[in-house]
C-alpha cells in the first residue's frame, strides 16, 4: 500500500509544510487535507468533545476528510496549552471511528532536529542527515519569506487601486513557492514577487485607520476560522497589523520570552500561558504606537487568552484604545461578526474624526 501523508490546515502554511514533506519523503504521496469548508467543521464537531476549543474540531474535520481521501499517515503538532494534548485524543477518536492509519505527533519541547530525523527515517525516508537539515532550513526560510510578504499584504491590501491585484499576485507567489528546490531558487522567487507586490499601486493615506490583531494563533492564522476577518477589515480600508505568525511562533518566541514579559510591563509579572503573554505585550505596544483599535480573537474557552483579557481591559482604560473581543465556536454566526465589525469600524472612524477637530 502506498503511503499517503496528510496534515491539518492552518492558513497558507500548507504550502511550505507540503514542500518539506515532499523533500523528505521522495517515494510517498503528500496530500494536504481538502480545503476547510463548513462540512469540515460539521464533521469535526460531530465527533469532538463538547466544549473543547474550536481548532480541535477543525483539525479533526481535516483528518476525517483526509482519511476519506485515502491518507494513511497523519501528522499533528503540539504546543503549550491544550493543543499539546490534541494528538492523543484525536488519534483515539479516529481509531474508534474505525480508520486505520499511523499517527505522528511533533511536540514542542520534546522535539529537536535529531528526533525529527529519526521519526522520518522510521517512516521510510531515505535521505541523509545533511540533506535533511538543508531542507528543514530551506523551509524555515520559506516560511519567513512567506510571512514577510503576507505582512506587507495585510498592511496594504485595503488600499489597492486595482481590485484583487494583491490577491492575484499572492496566489501566484504561493504557486511559485511549490516549485522551489534550493535556497537559490527560493531567493529568486522571493525577490521577484517582492518587487511585483511592491510595484502594485496603493492609495494609502498617512493617517489611515490602523488596527492590530492579537489573540490565539489558530483563530488568527486560519482565515476560515475567523470568518475572513482580515479581508473584511480590508474592505473598510483599514491597515491590519498582526505579529503572530509561524515565523514568530517557531523561531522567535522562545528566544524573546523575557523580552515579551518586559514589554508587557506593569500588566504582567509572570507568563500567563501559551500566547496570552504575547497578546498583552503586543496590545500594549500597539496602544503606545497610536493604533486606532485592537481586535482580540480566540476560540471559545481558550484559557490563555481568557487569562489575558483582564489585562487587555486595563490597557483599554489606561491608553483609551478600544479593543474588540471575538470568541469563535462552531456555532458562531457570520452575520453577528460582520455587524460587530461594522459597529467597531464606525466607532473608531468617529473617534478619529473627533480627534482631528
Amino acid at each position: 500500500m502506498d503511503k499517503i501523508i496528510s496534515f491539518p490546515h492552518i492558513g497558507n502554511y500548507h504550502v511550505p509544510i507540503e514542500c518539506l514533506l515532499k523533500f523528505i519523503f521522495n517515494d510517498c504521496k503528500i496530500q494536504s487535507a481538502p480545503p476547510i469548508t463548513k462540512k469540515t467543521l460539521d464533521l469535526g464537531s460531530r465527533y469532538s468533545p463538547d466544549f473543547v476549543c474550536v481548532p480541535f474540531k477543525y483539525n479533526l474535520g481535516n483528518f476525517i476528510e483526509a482519511l476519506d481521501n485515502g491518507a494513511n499517515i497523519l501528522v499533528q503538532a503540539g504546543g503549550g496549552c491544550r493543543y499539546r494534548y490534541y494528538g492523543e485524543i484525536q488519534q483515539q477518536i479516529l481509531k474508534d471511528l474505525g480508520y486505520d492509519f499511523e499517527f505522528i505527533q511533533i511536540l514542542s519541547g520534546d522535539t529537536n532536529v535529531f528526533s525529527l530525523y529519526r521519526t522520518c527515517r522510521n517512516l521510510g525516508s531515505s535521505i541523509s542527515f545533511n540533506k535533511f537539515v538543508y531542507y528543514v532550513l530551506l523551509v524555515c526560510k520559506m516560511i519567513q519569506d512567506m510571512d514577510n510578504i503576507e505582512f506587507y499584504i495585510r498592511e496594504n491590501i485595503g488600499f489597492e487601486v486595482e481590485e484583487r491585484s494583491f490577491e492575484a499576485v499572492h496566489k501566484e507567489f504561493l504557486d511559485a513557492l511549490q516549485t522551489v528546490q534550493s535556497f537559490q531558487s527560493l531567493h529568486t522567487v522571493y525577490k521577484k514577487y517582492r518587487q511585483k507586490i511592491g510595484a502594485l499601486k496603493v492609495d494609502k493615506p498617512t493617517d489611515c485607520l490602523r488596527v492590530g490583531l492579537v489573540g490565539e494563533l489558530y483563530s488568527l492564522m486560519e482565515p476560515f476560522s475567523n470568518f475572513f476577518m482580515e479581508k473584511e477589515l480590508a474592505k473598510y480600508k483599514i491597515a491590519v497589523s498582526r505579529y503572530i505568525t509561524l515565523t514568530y511562533l517557531l523561531f522567535q518566541k522562545t528566544r524573546q520570552s523575557k523580552k515579551v514579559l518586559r514589554e508587557a510591563g506593569e500588566y504582567l509579572k509572570f507568563h500567563i500561558g501559551a500566547d496570552g503573554t504575547d497578546s498583552v505585550a503586543k496590545s500594549k505596544i500597539l496602544a503606545q504606537g497610536g493604533y486606532d483599535g485592537v481586535i482580540h480573537v480566540k476560540p471559545f474557552g481558550c484559557t490563555p487568552e481568557v487569562n489575558a483579557m483582564p489585562m487587555l481591559q486595563n490597557i483599554t482604560k489606561d491608553y483609551k484604545m478600544p479593543i474588540l473581543y471575538f470568541s469563535f465556536d462552531s456555532q458562531t454566526s457570520e452575520t453577528g461578526i460582520k455587524t460587530r465589525l461594522e459597529a467597531f469600524y464606525d466607532m473608531i472612524m468617529m473617534r478619529k474624526g473627533t480627534r482631528y477637530e
Binding site: 473543547v52 505527533q105 500588566y267 509572570f270 474557552g301
Partner: protein, 309 residues
Amino acid sequence: MIMTIGLPRALLYYKYRYLWEIFFKELGCRVIVSEKSSSQTLADGSRFSIDECCLSSKMYMGHVYSLIGHCDYVLVLRVENFGRKEKVCVKFNAMYDIVKNTFKDVPLLCYDVDVEKGNSELKGFLQMGKVLGKSCRQSFFAYQKGKRAQMIQDKQKAEKQLKLLENQEQLKILLVTHPYNIYDKLIGFPIVKLVEESGGMPVYADACDSTSCRKESEGISKSLNWTFNKELVGAMNLCKEKVDGIILITAFPCGPDSLVNELILRRFKHIPISHIILDELTGEAGLQTRIESFMDIIKEKKKKRVVNG
C-alpha cells in the same frame, strides 16, 4: 504588629491547606480563611471575572473579593509546573496577574512554583518569609513543619480511603474531579449529598496517594502532562476494580478536563460512568434526577450480578 494573611478557600487551598496554615502560624501571623462558598461568593466572582472563565476560577475570585479589607495580605499561588511533564492548567499560570489586574490596590503575597526554571516551592516560601520580615532560617523551619503536617494529613486521608474501598456493603461511587470542585460547598457538596441520600458511598479520587497515581496514569495515557489530571486518571485506574460506578464532574468550561474526560470515557469501557458538567446555573432538580437514575442503574446491575452468582 501581627500580620493577617487571608487564604481564599478555593482552587489549591484544598491541596495545600495545612502547609499554608501552619507555615504562617509558625511565622507568627494570623491566618483567616474566607467563608465557605455561597451563592453570594459566586455572584461576586462572576462579576469580577471574564464570563468565559471556568466555574472554579470564578469561585476563586469571589473568595478573594470577600477577603479584601479583612487582612494585610491575600495569598495567591502561581504554579507553572512541578517539573518536566508535570504541568498544570494555564489558569494557574496567570492567577496572580489576573487577581492583580482585577483588584488593583490589594496587597498580594505570592509564591511561584516553576521547577523547570528553578523556582521550587521552598524558594517561594523563603521569599514569602522575607516579605513578611522573617529570616530564612525561620521560614525554612516553618516550611518544613507545614510540609510534614500536610504529608501526614494526606497519608491519613489515603488510608481512610483504602479502608472505605474495602467496605462491601454499600455501593461505592468514585467521584472523579479536582479537589477544589468536590470539596466546595456550592459545586461538589450537593453531589456528595445526593449520592449519600440515594444509598451510595462517595469515594474521592483525589484522596488516593498522588505519587502512585501519577505513575499509574502512564498506563492509560503516555502524553498526558497535567499533574492534577494525571492524579485523577491514575486514581481511577487504581480504584476501578473496587468501585461500582464513577461520576465525572467537570466545571464548565474546564480546559484540561474537556479533553481528558473524553479520553476517560473512551478508555474506561467496563464500568458505568456518569459525566456531569456544572456551571453557574445548575439546577438542583436536574442533578437529582441524573444521580438517582445513575444509582438505580448501578443497584440493578449489582443485584443481577449477585443473582447470577
